[in-house]
Structures are given as structure tokens and as C-alpha cells.
């Protein structure tokens, strides 16, 4: 085995995998600027499909609905996910801890069709019993928030684990009440994790088609539902245009958030270092 050829092989392997991952995204973007009605045959560059998208009121109202659901469900996910992470990390022993662990990881691994079916059947049972909720925005929201809570719990948990519990103890020794420890110490340290959990669960909700299809009622079509029903019928250049717009927004958001997180991290490290050097004086 020769290490130079090994290195070339390693680089080639990585390049091919990256190409594989990005090829469809590049195609989507390139062909959104194609003038031809045929999605796959290049004629010449134009913004024709963006103009069509601007007039596509079905798709636009679906995008607005998806944004609304994604924002609300991400908030709910971060809220319940933080609770879950605290329950599982701060309390190592309580009755039914195993049950909570497995329930909270269930939505992560269970196929979407099962989560969607089970939630719908539960909602229908409640409906028969109490007369509400009607299928629509609220029920989609519940489904997405369930899925998001599981993911948010994972993100917050990993942050809680690497956080120094000495800081909590120190602030308690200095006389902080438990609530103050949370608001003054733990919460500020958690903010970057909460931001990334929000973005992740927002994206999950914005992307979901299976849960929404099970849980939505008449008149409530999310963007993925509209795209899915069009993609089933065939290829449609407007989909490329809407894809390019979302890809642009997501890329900017991801880069901005990773920039923000790394900056926060640096700031925190600096402050910690300063605190330690002060205490050693």
C-alpha cells in the first residue's frame, strides 16, 4: 500500500460522494432558469418559471401556510424538546424514565406513515369524543411539533451534556435560587442550541409531506403537499423555480446561523477564559 495513491483515492472518493449529494440540487437550480417547457431539455436562460411562480396563487398560499406551520411548530418543538432534554439529563432516576426515553426517540426512527396514521386515528378518536379538533392547521401543527420535539430534544441534550455543571453549582453556592440559576446561567448558555434546534425543526416541518397529508383537512395544503401532488403527475418547471428560491433562503439561513453559533462559541470561550484567569489572580 502506497500512501500517496491512498490519499488520491481518499480525495476521489470524497469528491464523488459530494458530487452525488449535490448533483440533484445543482440540476434543480440550473433548470429553473431554462426557458423550455420540457424540464430536462435546455433551450436558453430565462426567468419564465419565476414569473409563472409569482402568478401561481395555489403554490404561494401553500408556501405561506407552510411558513406559518413551520414557525409555530418549531417554537413548540423547542419548548417541549427543552423540557424533554432537561427531564432526561437532570434527573437520572425517576419512575418511567425508560418509557420517556423510548417515547421521545420513537418519532425519530418510526416511519412517517406510522406516525401520521397513529396521530390521525388518535385525533379522530378525540373528535368522536369531544367534537374537536377539526382537521386542519392545528392538527398538522401537532404532528410536526411531535416530530420536532424529538429532534429538538437531541440537539438540546448534546448541549446540556457538554455544559459544565460546575457553573450551576458555583452559582448555587453564590446564593442563586434554582430559577435564577436557570435564567441567569443555564439559559444564556443554551441559546445557541435553542437557535439551531429551532432552525432544524423549522426545516423538518417545512419539508414534511407524509404527516401533513394524514393530518390536514380540506383547504389546508402545505407547500410539500402541492409539490408532491404535482411531482406525482410529472415534471413541472415551476417546481424547479420554487426549489431554487427555497434552496437560496435555506443556504443563507444555514450559513448565517453557523456564523452566529461559532461567534457565540468564541465569545463564550473568551469570557470563560477571562473568568478563570481572574479567579486565579
Amino acid at each position: 500500500m502506497n500512501s500517496a495513491s491512498n490519499k488520491i483515492f481518499a480525495k476521489a472518493w470524497m469528491a464523488i460522494v459530494y458530487l452525488f449529494l449535490y448533483l440533484p440540487i445543482i440540476t434543480l437550480v440550473v433548470f429553473s432558469f431554462n426557458d423550455s417547457k420540457l424540464v430536462t431539455v435546455w433551450s436558453h436562460a430565462s426567468f419564465r418559471w419565476y414569473a409563472a411562480l409569482a402568478k401561481d396563487s395555489d403554490l404561494i398560499s401553500a408556501v405561506l401556510l407552510s411558513l406559518e406551520i413551520a414557525g409555530l411548530s418549531a417554537l413548540m418543538s423547542v419548548f417541549f424538546g427543552t423540557f424533554t432534554a432537561f427531564a432526561l439529563n437532570r434527573y437520572k432516576r425517576f419512575h418511567g424514565r425508560t418509557l420517556l426515553t423510548s417515547m421521545s426517540s420513537m418519532p425519530l426512527v418510526m416511519p412517517d406513515v406510522i406516525v401520521g396514521l397513529s396521530l390521525l386515528l388518535m385525533i379522530v378518536s378525540v373528535q368522536n369524543w369531544l367534537g374537536f379538533p377539526e382537521r386542519g392547521l392545528f392538527t398538522i401543527l401537532l404532528g410536526h411539533a411531535l416530530l420536532g420535539t424529538a429532534y429538538a430534544a437531541v440537539v438540546v441534550t448534546s448541549r446540556l451534556r457538554e455544559m459544565d455543571s460546575k457553573l450551576d453549582e458555583a452559582s448555587m453556592d453564590l446564593g442563586c435560587k434554582p430559577m435564577q440559576v436557570f435564567t441567569l446561567v443555564t439559559f444564556p448558555l443554551l441559546v445557541p442550541a435553542l437557535v439551531s434546534a429551532f432552525l432544524l425543526t423549522f426545516t423538518l416541518s417545512f419539508d414534511d409531506v407524509v404527516l401533513s397529508s394524514f393530518l390536514s383537512g380540506p383547504g389546508y395544503s402545505t407547500m410539500p403537499m402541492v409539490i408532491f401532488s404535482r411531482a406525482r403527475l410529472g415534471l413541472n418547471p415551476t417546481i424547479n423555480a420554487v426549489a431554487t428560491v427555497t434552496i437560496a433562503v435555506v443556504t443563507i439561513a444555514v450559513i448565517a446561523s453557523s456564523f452566529y453559533t461559532s461567534q457565540q462559541e468564541r465569545k463564550r470561550k473568551r469570557e470563560e477564559a477571562q473568568a478563570y484567569s481572574n479567579s486565579n489572580k
Binding site: 500500500m1 481518499a10 472518493w13 470524497m14 452525488f20 449529494l21 449535490y22 448533483l23 440533484p24 440540487i25 440540476t27 434543480l28 433548470f31 430536462t40 431539455v41 417541549f80 423540557f83 424533554t84 432537561f86 427531564a87 437532570r90 434527573y91 418511567g96 420517556l100 420513537m106 426512527v109 418510526m110 416511519p111 406513515v113 406510522i114 396514521l117 397513529s118 388518535m122 379522530v124 378518536s125 368522536n128 411539533a145 411531535l146 420535539t149 448555587m172 453556592d173 435560587k177 434554582p178 417545512f206 419539508d207 409531506v209 407524509v210 397529508s213 410539500p224 409539490i227 411531482a231 406525482r232 415534471l235 417546481i239 424547479n240 426549489a243 427555497t246 434552496i247 443556504t251 444555514v254
Partner: protein, 300 residues
């Protein structure tokens, strides 16, 4: 110590809330719905509400169970074939993801340290763009008048378009494409934490790099392999969107059967029975996954 004591006692109300809120949330939205699925799978089509299932004619509540849906599942060989084919496709997907993802994660973990965050972000970035749109993009690439065929024809590599859509090739490609990051991420997390001194020691003792890889690196990354494989295999068994968009009618996947039972046939008990059997199939790999996760946490 006294301070700590008072901290925990003062928090007992807080403790109740912190544990109670997520408990209530997941019981309502995760556990109870699954029990309802089980219940409805044991009812008849006309009487899916729970009150219909409880028989009061004897003066006390008695649950009437109906195994009709399960009998139908067992007798119609199409269901059996579909379960088998779903497992087959999920297993092939897992294997392909492992074969592609392991070397990738390995090389990524051995890349210069300052490069690794960027390489990792490049894996996550497609993950952030809509999965549905990426699957749709494969459709535009693979169809017979699609981008790949057009390019190959214009380069005179082929004369007639290759059939790449609506078969097991396009299905597997879409599944490997979608699930590959789920394989790479746990493998990378595992491999990047590995203690390189083991490999140095092996080299000092005269082990060839190839042998050291199989005898040291692979066994040490067992937890990552298990986690990655389960994260791919379990959702792949029940996948619906990819077979619907890329698989065509010839590829049998159980997620689609469930969907059709529910949305086309409106047969809720049958859809529930299909779901219950699917859950039973996933239960074993899920147990393996949870056990591996727990072991890894204790090992830390």
C-alpha cells in the same frame, strides 16, 4: 452538601413540572396513538370508534376483538411479498450506505482538523434543503428523456435512452441518496473520537495498515456502524415518498400499501393492521439500536 439537599427539595415542584410536561406530551402524541392503532387494527371496518368495541350486553364492559384484518394479512400473499420486498430494499440500502459511507466517514475523520467542520457542513447542507425536492430532482435526471440520458445521447455514448426510472435501480438510488447522511454522521462522530495510539501501537508491533484497519478500526467503530445502519434501515422499511416518486408500480414497498389502504380503500382497520405488523418488524432493530446507544453512553 446541605445546600444541595435543599436545592433538590426546593425543586421537587419544579421536578414534577420538568418531568411531567414532556411525559404528558409524548404520552398523548406518541404512546396513546400507537395503542389506538393497535385497537383499531382489531376492530371491524364499520365500527372503528372505541365505544363500538366495548360490549355492554353482559352488564360489564367487554372488549370485542376482531382478527379479520390480520387473517386477511396472513392469507393474501401479496402482503407477505411486500413486507419481504420492503425488508430487502431497506437491507440493500443499508449495505450500500455502509459501503459508500464508511470510507467517506473514515477519510473525513482523518482529514486535517481545520477542514473537518467545513466537510461536515457540506454533508449537512443538502440535508437542509427539501428532501422532496431532491427526490423530484432525481426524477428529472433519470427519466428516459431526462438530463442524464440527454447528455449521454448528445455525447454519442448511447443511441437509445437507458431505462433508469420506475424500477428497483431508481428506488435504491433515491433511498441511498436520502439516507447516506444518516449513515455518515454517526460513523464520523465515532471515528473522529478514536484513539490513534492504538493504530500507532499496532504499527510499531508490525501490523500492516490493512490488517490494522480490520482488526482495530472496524471493531472500535462497531457502535457507529450499528447506529448508522439502524438509522438507515428502520425508516427505509416504511419509506413512502421515494417509492411513490421513483419506484414505479413494479417495486413493492409496505409504506405504499399502508397509504393506499388508508387513502384509496379507506380501510382503517387494514391500514392499522399493516402498521402493527410493520412496527413488530422494526421492533428488533430498534432494540438493537437502543442497546448500542446505551452501551456507548456508559462507555463514555
Amino acid at each position: 452538601m446541605a445546600k444541595k439537599q435543599s436545592f433538590f427539595t426546593s425543586l421537587s415542584a419544579g421536578r414534577l413540572v420538568v418531568i411531567g410536561v414532556p411525559y404528558f406530551w409524548f404520552l398523548l402524541l406518541a404512546a396513546i396513538p400507537l395503542l389506538i392503532v393497535l385497537k383499531i387494527s382489531l376492530s371491524e371496518m364499520e365500527s372503528t370508534s372505541i365505544s363500538h368495541m366495548i360490549d355492554w350486553s353482559h352488564g360489564w364492559p367487554r372488549l370485542t376483538l376482531n382478527f379479520g384484518s390480520y387473517q386477511f394479512l396472513a392469507t393474501d400473499s401479496l402482503y407477505f411479498k411486500t413486507y419481504l420486498s420492503s425488508i430487502k430494499y431497506a437491507a440493500i440500502t443499508t449495505l450500500l450506505c455502509l459501503v459508500i459511507g464508511y470510507p467517506f466517514a473514515y477519510y473525513m475523520a482523518r482529514s486535517p482538523k481545520h477542514m473537518q467542520p467545513t466537510l461536515l457542513m457540506l454533508i449537512m447542507l443538502p440535508f437542509w434543503t427539501s428532501f422532496l425536492l431532491r427526490i423530484y430532482a432525481w426524477k428529472t435526471l433519470l427519466v428516459s428523456n431526462g438530463v442524464i440520458n440527454n447528455i449521454l445521447i448528445s455525447l454519442h455514448v448511447i443511441d437509445t435512452p437507458i431505462e433508469m426510472m420506475n424500477n428497483s435501480f431508481s428506488l435504491l438510488l433515491g433511498m441511498v441518496y436520502s439516507y447516506l447522511p444518516f449513515m455518515i454522521l454517526p460513523l464520523y462522530a465515532n471515528l473522529s473520537k478514536m484513539d490513534m495510539r492504538y493504530l500507532e501501537a499496532a504499527a510499531d508491533l508490525g501490523t500492516s495498515p490493512f490488517k490494522a484497519f480490520w482488526l482495530i478500526t472496524v471493531p472500535l467503530s462497531k457502535a457507529g456502524i450499528i447506529a448508522g445502519s439502524m438509522l438507515v434501515f428502520i425508516p427505509a422499511v416504511g419509506e413512502y415518498v421515494i417509492p411513490e416518486l421513483l419506484g414505479g408500480s413494479s417495486t413493492l414497498m409496505i409504506g405504499r400499501v399502508l397509504w393506499d389502504e388508508f387513502f384509496s380503500n379507506n380501510d382503517w382497520p387494514m391500514a392499522s393492521a399493516v402498521a402493527v405488523v410493520m412496527i413488530l418488524l422494526i421492533l428488533v432493530p430498534m432494540g438493537v439500536y437502543n442497546k448500542a446507544q446505551a452501551e456507548q453512553m456508559e462507555g463514555k
